[in-house]
């Protein structure tokens, strides 16, 4: 470890790994438990989590990951076990850290979408949307975005929510031994991605939602494609119900496992299906509507017990709710321009460049320097499939963000893992980790 004396960047602040029980102080342990469970230290001590003397230490610390298949990427869980019981857990992250927030400071606002879309690679369009909304807020054009662009964004984001939850259902099934489910979930997701490929040209990492609107109009025949999708998926969701929801083994593995209370969820900053599974009715689409979510009908699904089964059931049924929203969007989709008619933000159509000198200049300026964004600081949050995705941008008036920060829902939700795992069996650790549905790309950024 390197410590630079007299240099501001002292980096030796201790090990990231979990210390064995015999080496920690009682107050450290009790503070962490007490703060989250909202207990005093005396009450926390009564839970019997006190560290033991080295001779009596019957616990073992094992690593799950970072290459364990059920950790959904490169998540490393350090589990402290007494027999098969998990006493403590510490997620160690950072294995996928590639400095995307630093890189964002080098990329212009037009290029920024390519960066943020790679953070949560299971719901790239939500990330692009929140970035675009934040930039539009800074530019002061958020009220000028054409109707068609708004509805297209909603269509894509809802389809993306379906794809993301289908991916969750696939991996959740796989983690719990319903291996067939993995194939089914991927199959349905692939059909959604095929539609994305038709619209955006790519299955993932679209960079399609851009500041000022979307990159291109919907292709001819999109309505039929969406309707075909909406026809094929409900029957398959019913199959999932048959395969998993009603099965005693499935229920045994999930019900009452990894319970989180509403108070804990709020204290830990958990959002999305994890918060809703505890019974807290909070969905930004309903409570603080953006785009046109106030014009469509849908239900916010909440659980009752805050366990892994509730989280599974919420996601399964959110696919159905998203389909309900998509069906309304197909009905309501207006015609018109799909990006804002502001030459400083929107590149001119390719055909105009051959005719107009001014269009050529705008095109050149936008793709070399990029457009300048007025000075300011803004935070925008939307409801992604995993919870609140926030985008905090500071602009210094230049063509690239001075600072871009994405509030990744998985990163924050992952903190609830140690509290869900307290007292679980090690086999449940897989089920609980899976039910958080973390995407390590956005955890580490």
């Amino acid at each position: 470890m390197t410590v630079h004396v007299g240099h501001v960047s002292q980096t030796s602040e201790g090990s990231q790994e979990m210390k064995p029980r015999s080496e920690i102080v009682a107050s450290e342990l009790l503070r962490e438990i007490g703060a989250v469970l909202r207990l005093s230290e005396t009450e926390a001590a009564a839970l019997g989590d006190l560290p033991e003397t080295p001779e009596e230490d019957q616990t073992m610390v094992i690593n799950m990951g970072p290459q364990h298949p059920s950790t959904h990427g490169v998540l490393r869980l350090m589990l402290e076990l007494r027999g098969e019981e998990v006493l403590r857990c510490k997620p160690v992250i950072g294995y996928l850290h590639t400095g995307m927030e630093k890189q964002a400071e080098q990329l212009s606002y037009l290029q920024g979408g390519t960066n943020v879309t790679r953070m949560d690679y299971a719901s790239p369009l939500s990330n692009e949307l929140v970035f675009s909304m934040a930039v539009e807020e800074l530019l002061g054009i958020s009220n000028d975005i054409p109707e068609r662009a708004q509805w297209m964004r909603m269509l894509l984001v809802e389809l993306n929510r379906m794809a993301s939850h289908l991916l969750f259902l696939a991996t959740n099934g796989m983690d719990l031994g319903a291996v067939g489910m993995m194939i089914y979930g991927w199959r349905e997701r692939e059909e959604v991605l095929r539609f994305f490929q038709k619209v955006t040209g790519l299955r993932m990492n679209h960079n399609f939602v851009r500041p000022g609107g979307v990159a291109a109009d919907l292709p001819a025949g999109w309505r039929d494609d969406v309707l075909r999708l909406l026809e094929s998926i409900p029957g398959r969701l019913d199959e999932y119900d048959l395969l998993m929801t009603g099965q005693p083994i499935w229920r045994e593995r999930l019900q009452g496992v990894g319970v989180l209370t509403p108070t804990e969820a709020v204290a830990l900053g958990a959002t999305g299906p994890i918060l809703r599974s505890t019974g807290v009715e909070w969905d930004l689409r309903r409570n603080m509507p953006y785009l046109h979510y106030d014009q469509v009908e849908f239900d916010v699904l909440v659980g009752q017990y805050g366990d892994s089964f509730d989280r599974y059931a919420i996601r399964l049924n959110e696919v159905r709710e998203s389909m309900r929203i998509v069906r309304q969007i197909v009905e309501l989709m207006p015609s018109g321009p799909y990006r804002v008619q502001n030459k400083k933000v929107t590149p001119p159509p390719r055909a105009r460049i051959d005719e107009s000198m001014e269009a050529l200049i705008h095109h050149f300026k936008i793709f070399t320097e990029g457009f300048r964004v007025p000075e300011g600081e803004v935070y925008v949050g939307i409801e992604g499939p995993r919870g609140e995705i926030g985008c905090h941008i500071v602009s210094d008036g230049s063509a690239a963000p001075y600072r871009l920060h994405i509030r990744p829902p998985s990163f924050v939700n992952l903190q609830s893992l140690p509290h869900m795992l307290r007292g679980c069996l090690i086999a449940d650790a897989v089920a609980v980790t899976s039910s958080i549905d973390p995407i390590l790309g956005e955890v580490d950024r």
Binding site: G390, H405, F411
Partner: protein, 168 residues
């Protein structure tokens, strides 16, 4: 809660005794480091029950940024995003943190969910949080030197053929 909305117009509007701005329709208060914990406690009592995000900005190259009158100007600014779920409102708390003593008290006891976020801020900016239960790095390796999101931390580059360094 001390909401001086009825204060004379020429005065800067305040909330919790701190200057309040509402640019882009977003409520932002600028808090002194000394009053940071007290104000955060007041906001929690006032209904801002969830702390969504803790992050920071290094204003090294943008020190002359716009700030309301009477707000201290420092190199770092820690940004805390709060959410009131009952009233459906957000509040952003900005705290200036000086370069020579980059530290703040931790919010862990108030909002345990800030544990990982504060570790990230420490990791990326070198701002330490006094009283944090686990002040280790979170994203970078534990023996890493420096704090990558500081503005004086070079991005570094690898030579790419046929592409001059993108000098922006």
């Amino acid at each position: 809660m001390t909401d001086d909305a009825e204060a004379p117009e020429e005065r800067v509007p305040t909330r919790y005794g701190c200057p309040l701005t509402q640019r882009f329709g977003q409520d932002v208060i600028y808090v002194d480091r000394q009053r940071y914990l007290d104000v955060l406690k007041a906001t929690a009592d006032d209904g801002y029950e969830m702390c969504l995000d803790v992050t920071a900005v290094d204003y090294l190259k943008h020190l002359e940024r716009w700030l309301p009158d009477g707000v201290e100007r420092h190199r770092f600014e820690v940004v805390v995003n709060l959410l009131d779920m009952k009233a459906g409102r957000r509040l952003r708390v900005n705290v200036a943190v000086p370069e020579d003593d980059p530290s703040l008290p931790t919010l862990f006891d108030l909002h345990p969910g800030t544990e990982a976020m504060e570790r990230e801020v420490f990791d990326m900016f070198g701002i330490s949080f006094d009283g944090h239960p686990d002040p280790s790095r979170i994203l970078m390796p534990e023996d890493w030197d420096g704090h990558p999101l500081r503005k004086d931390y070079a991005t570094g580059e690898i030579p790419v053929q046929f592409k001059a360094g993108n000098a922006r």
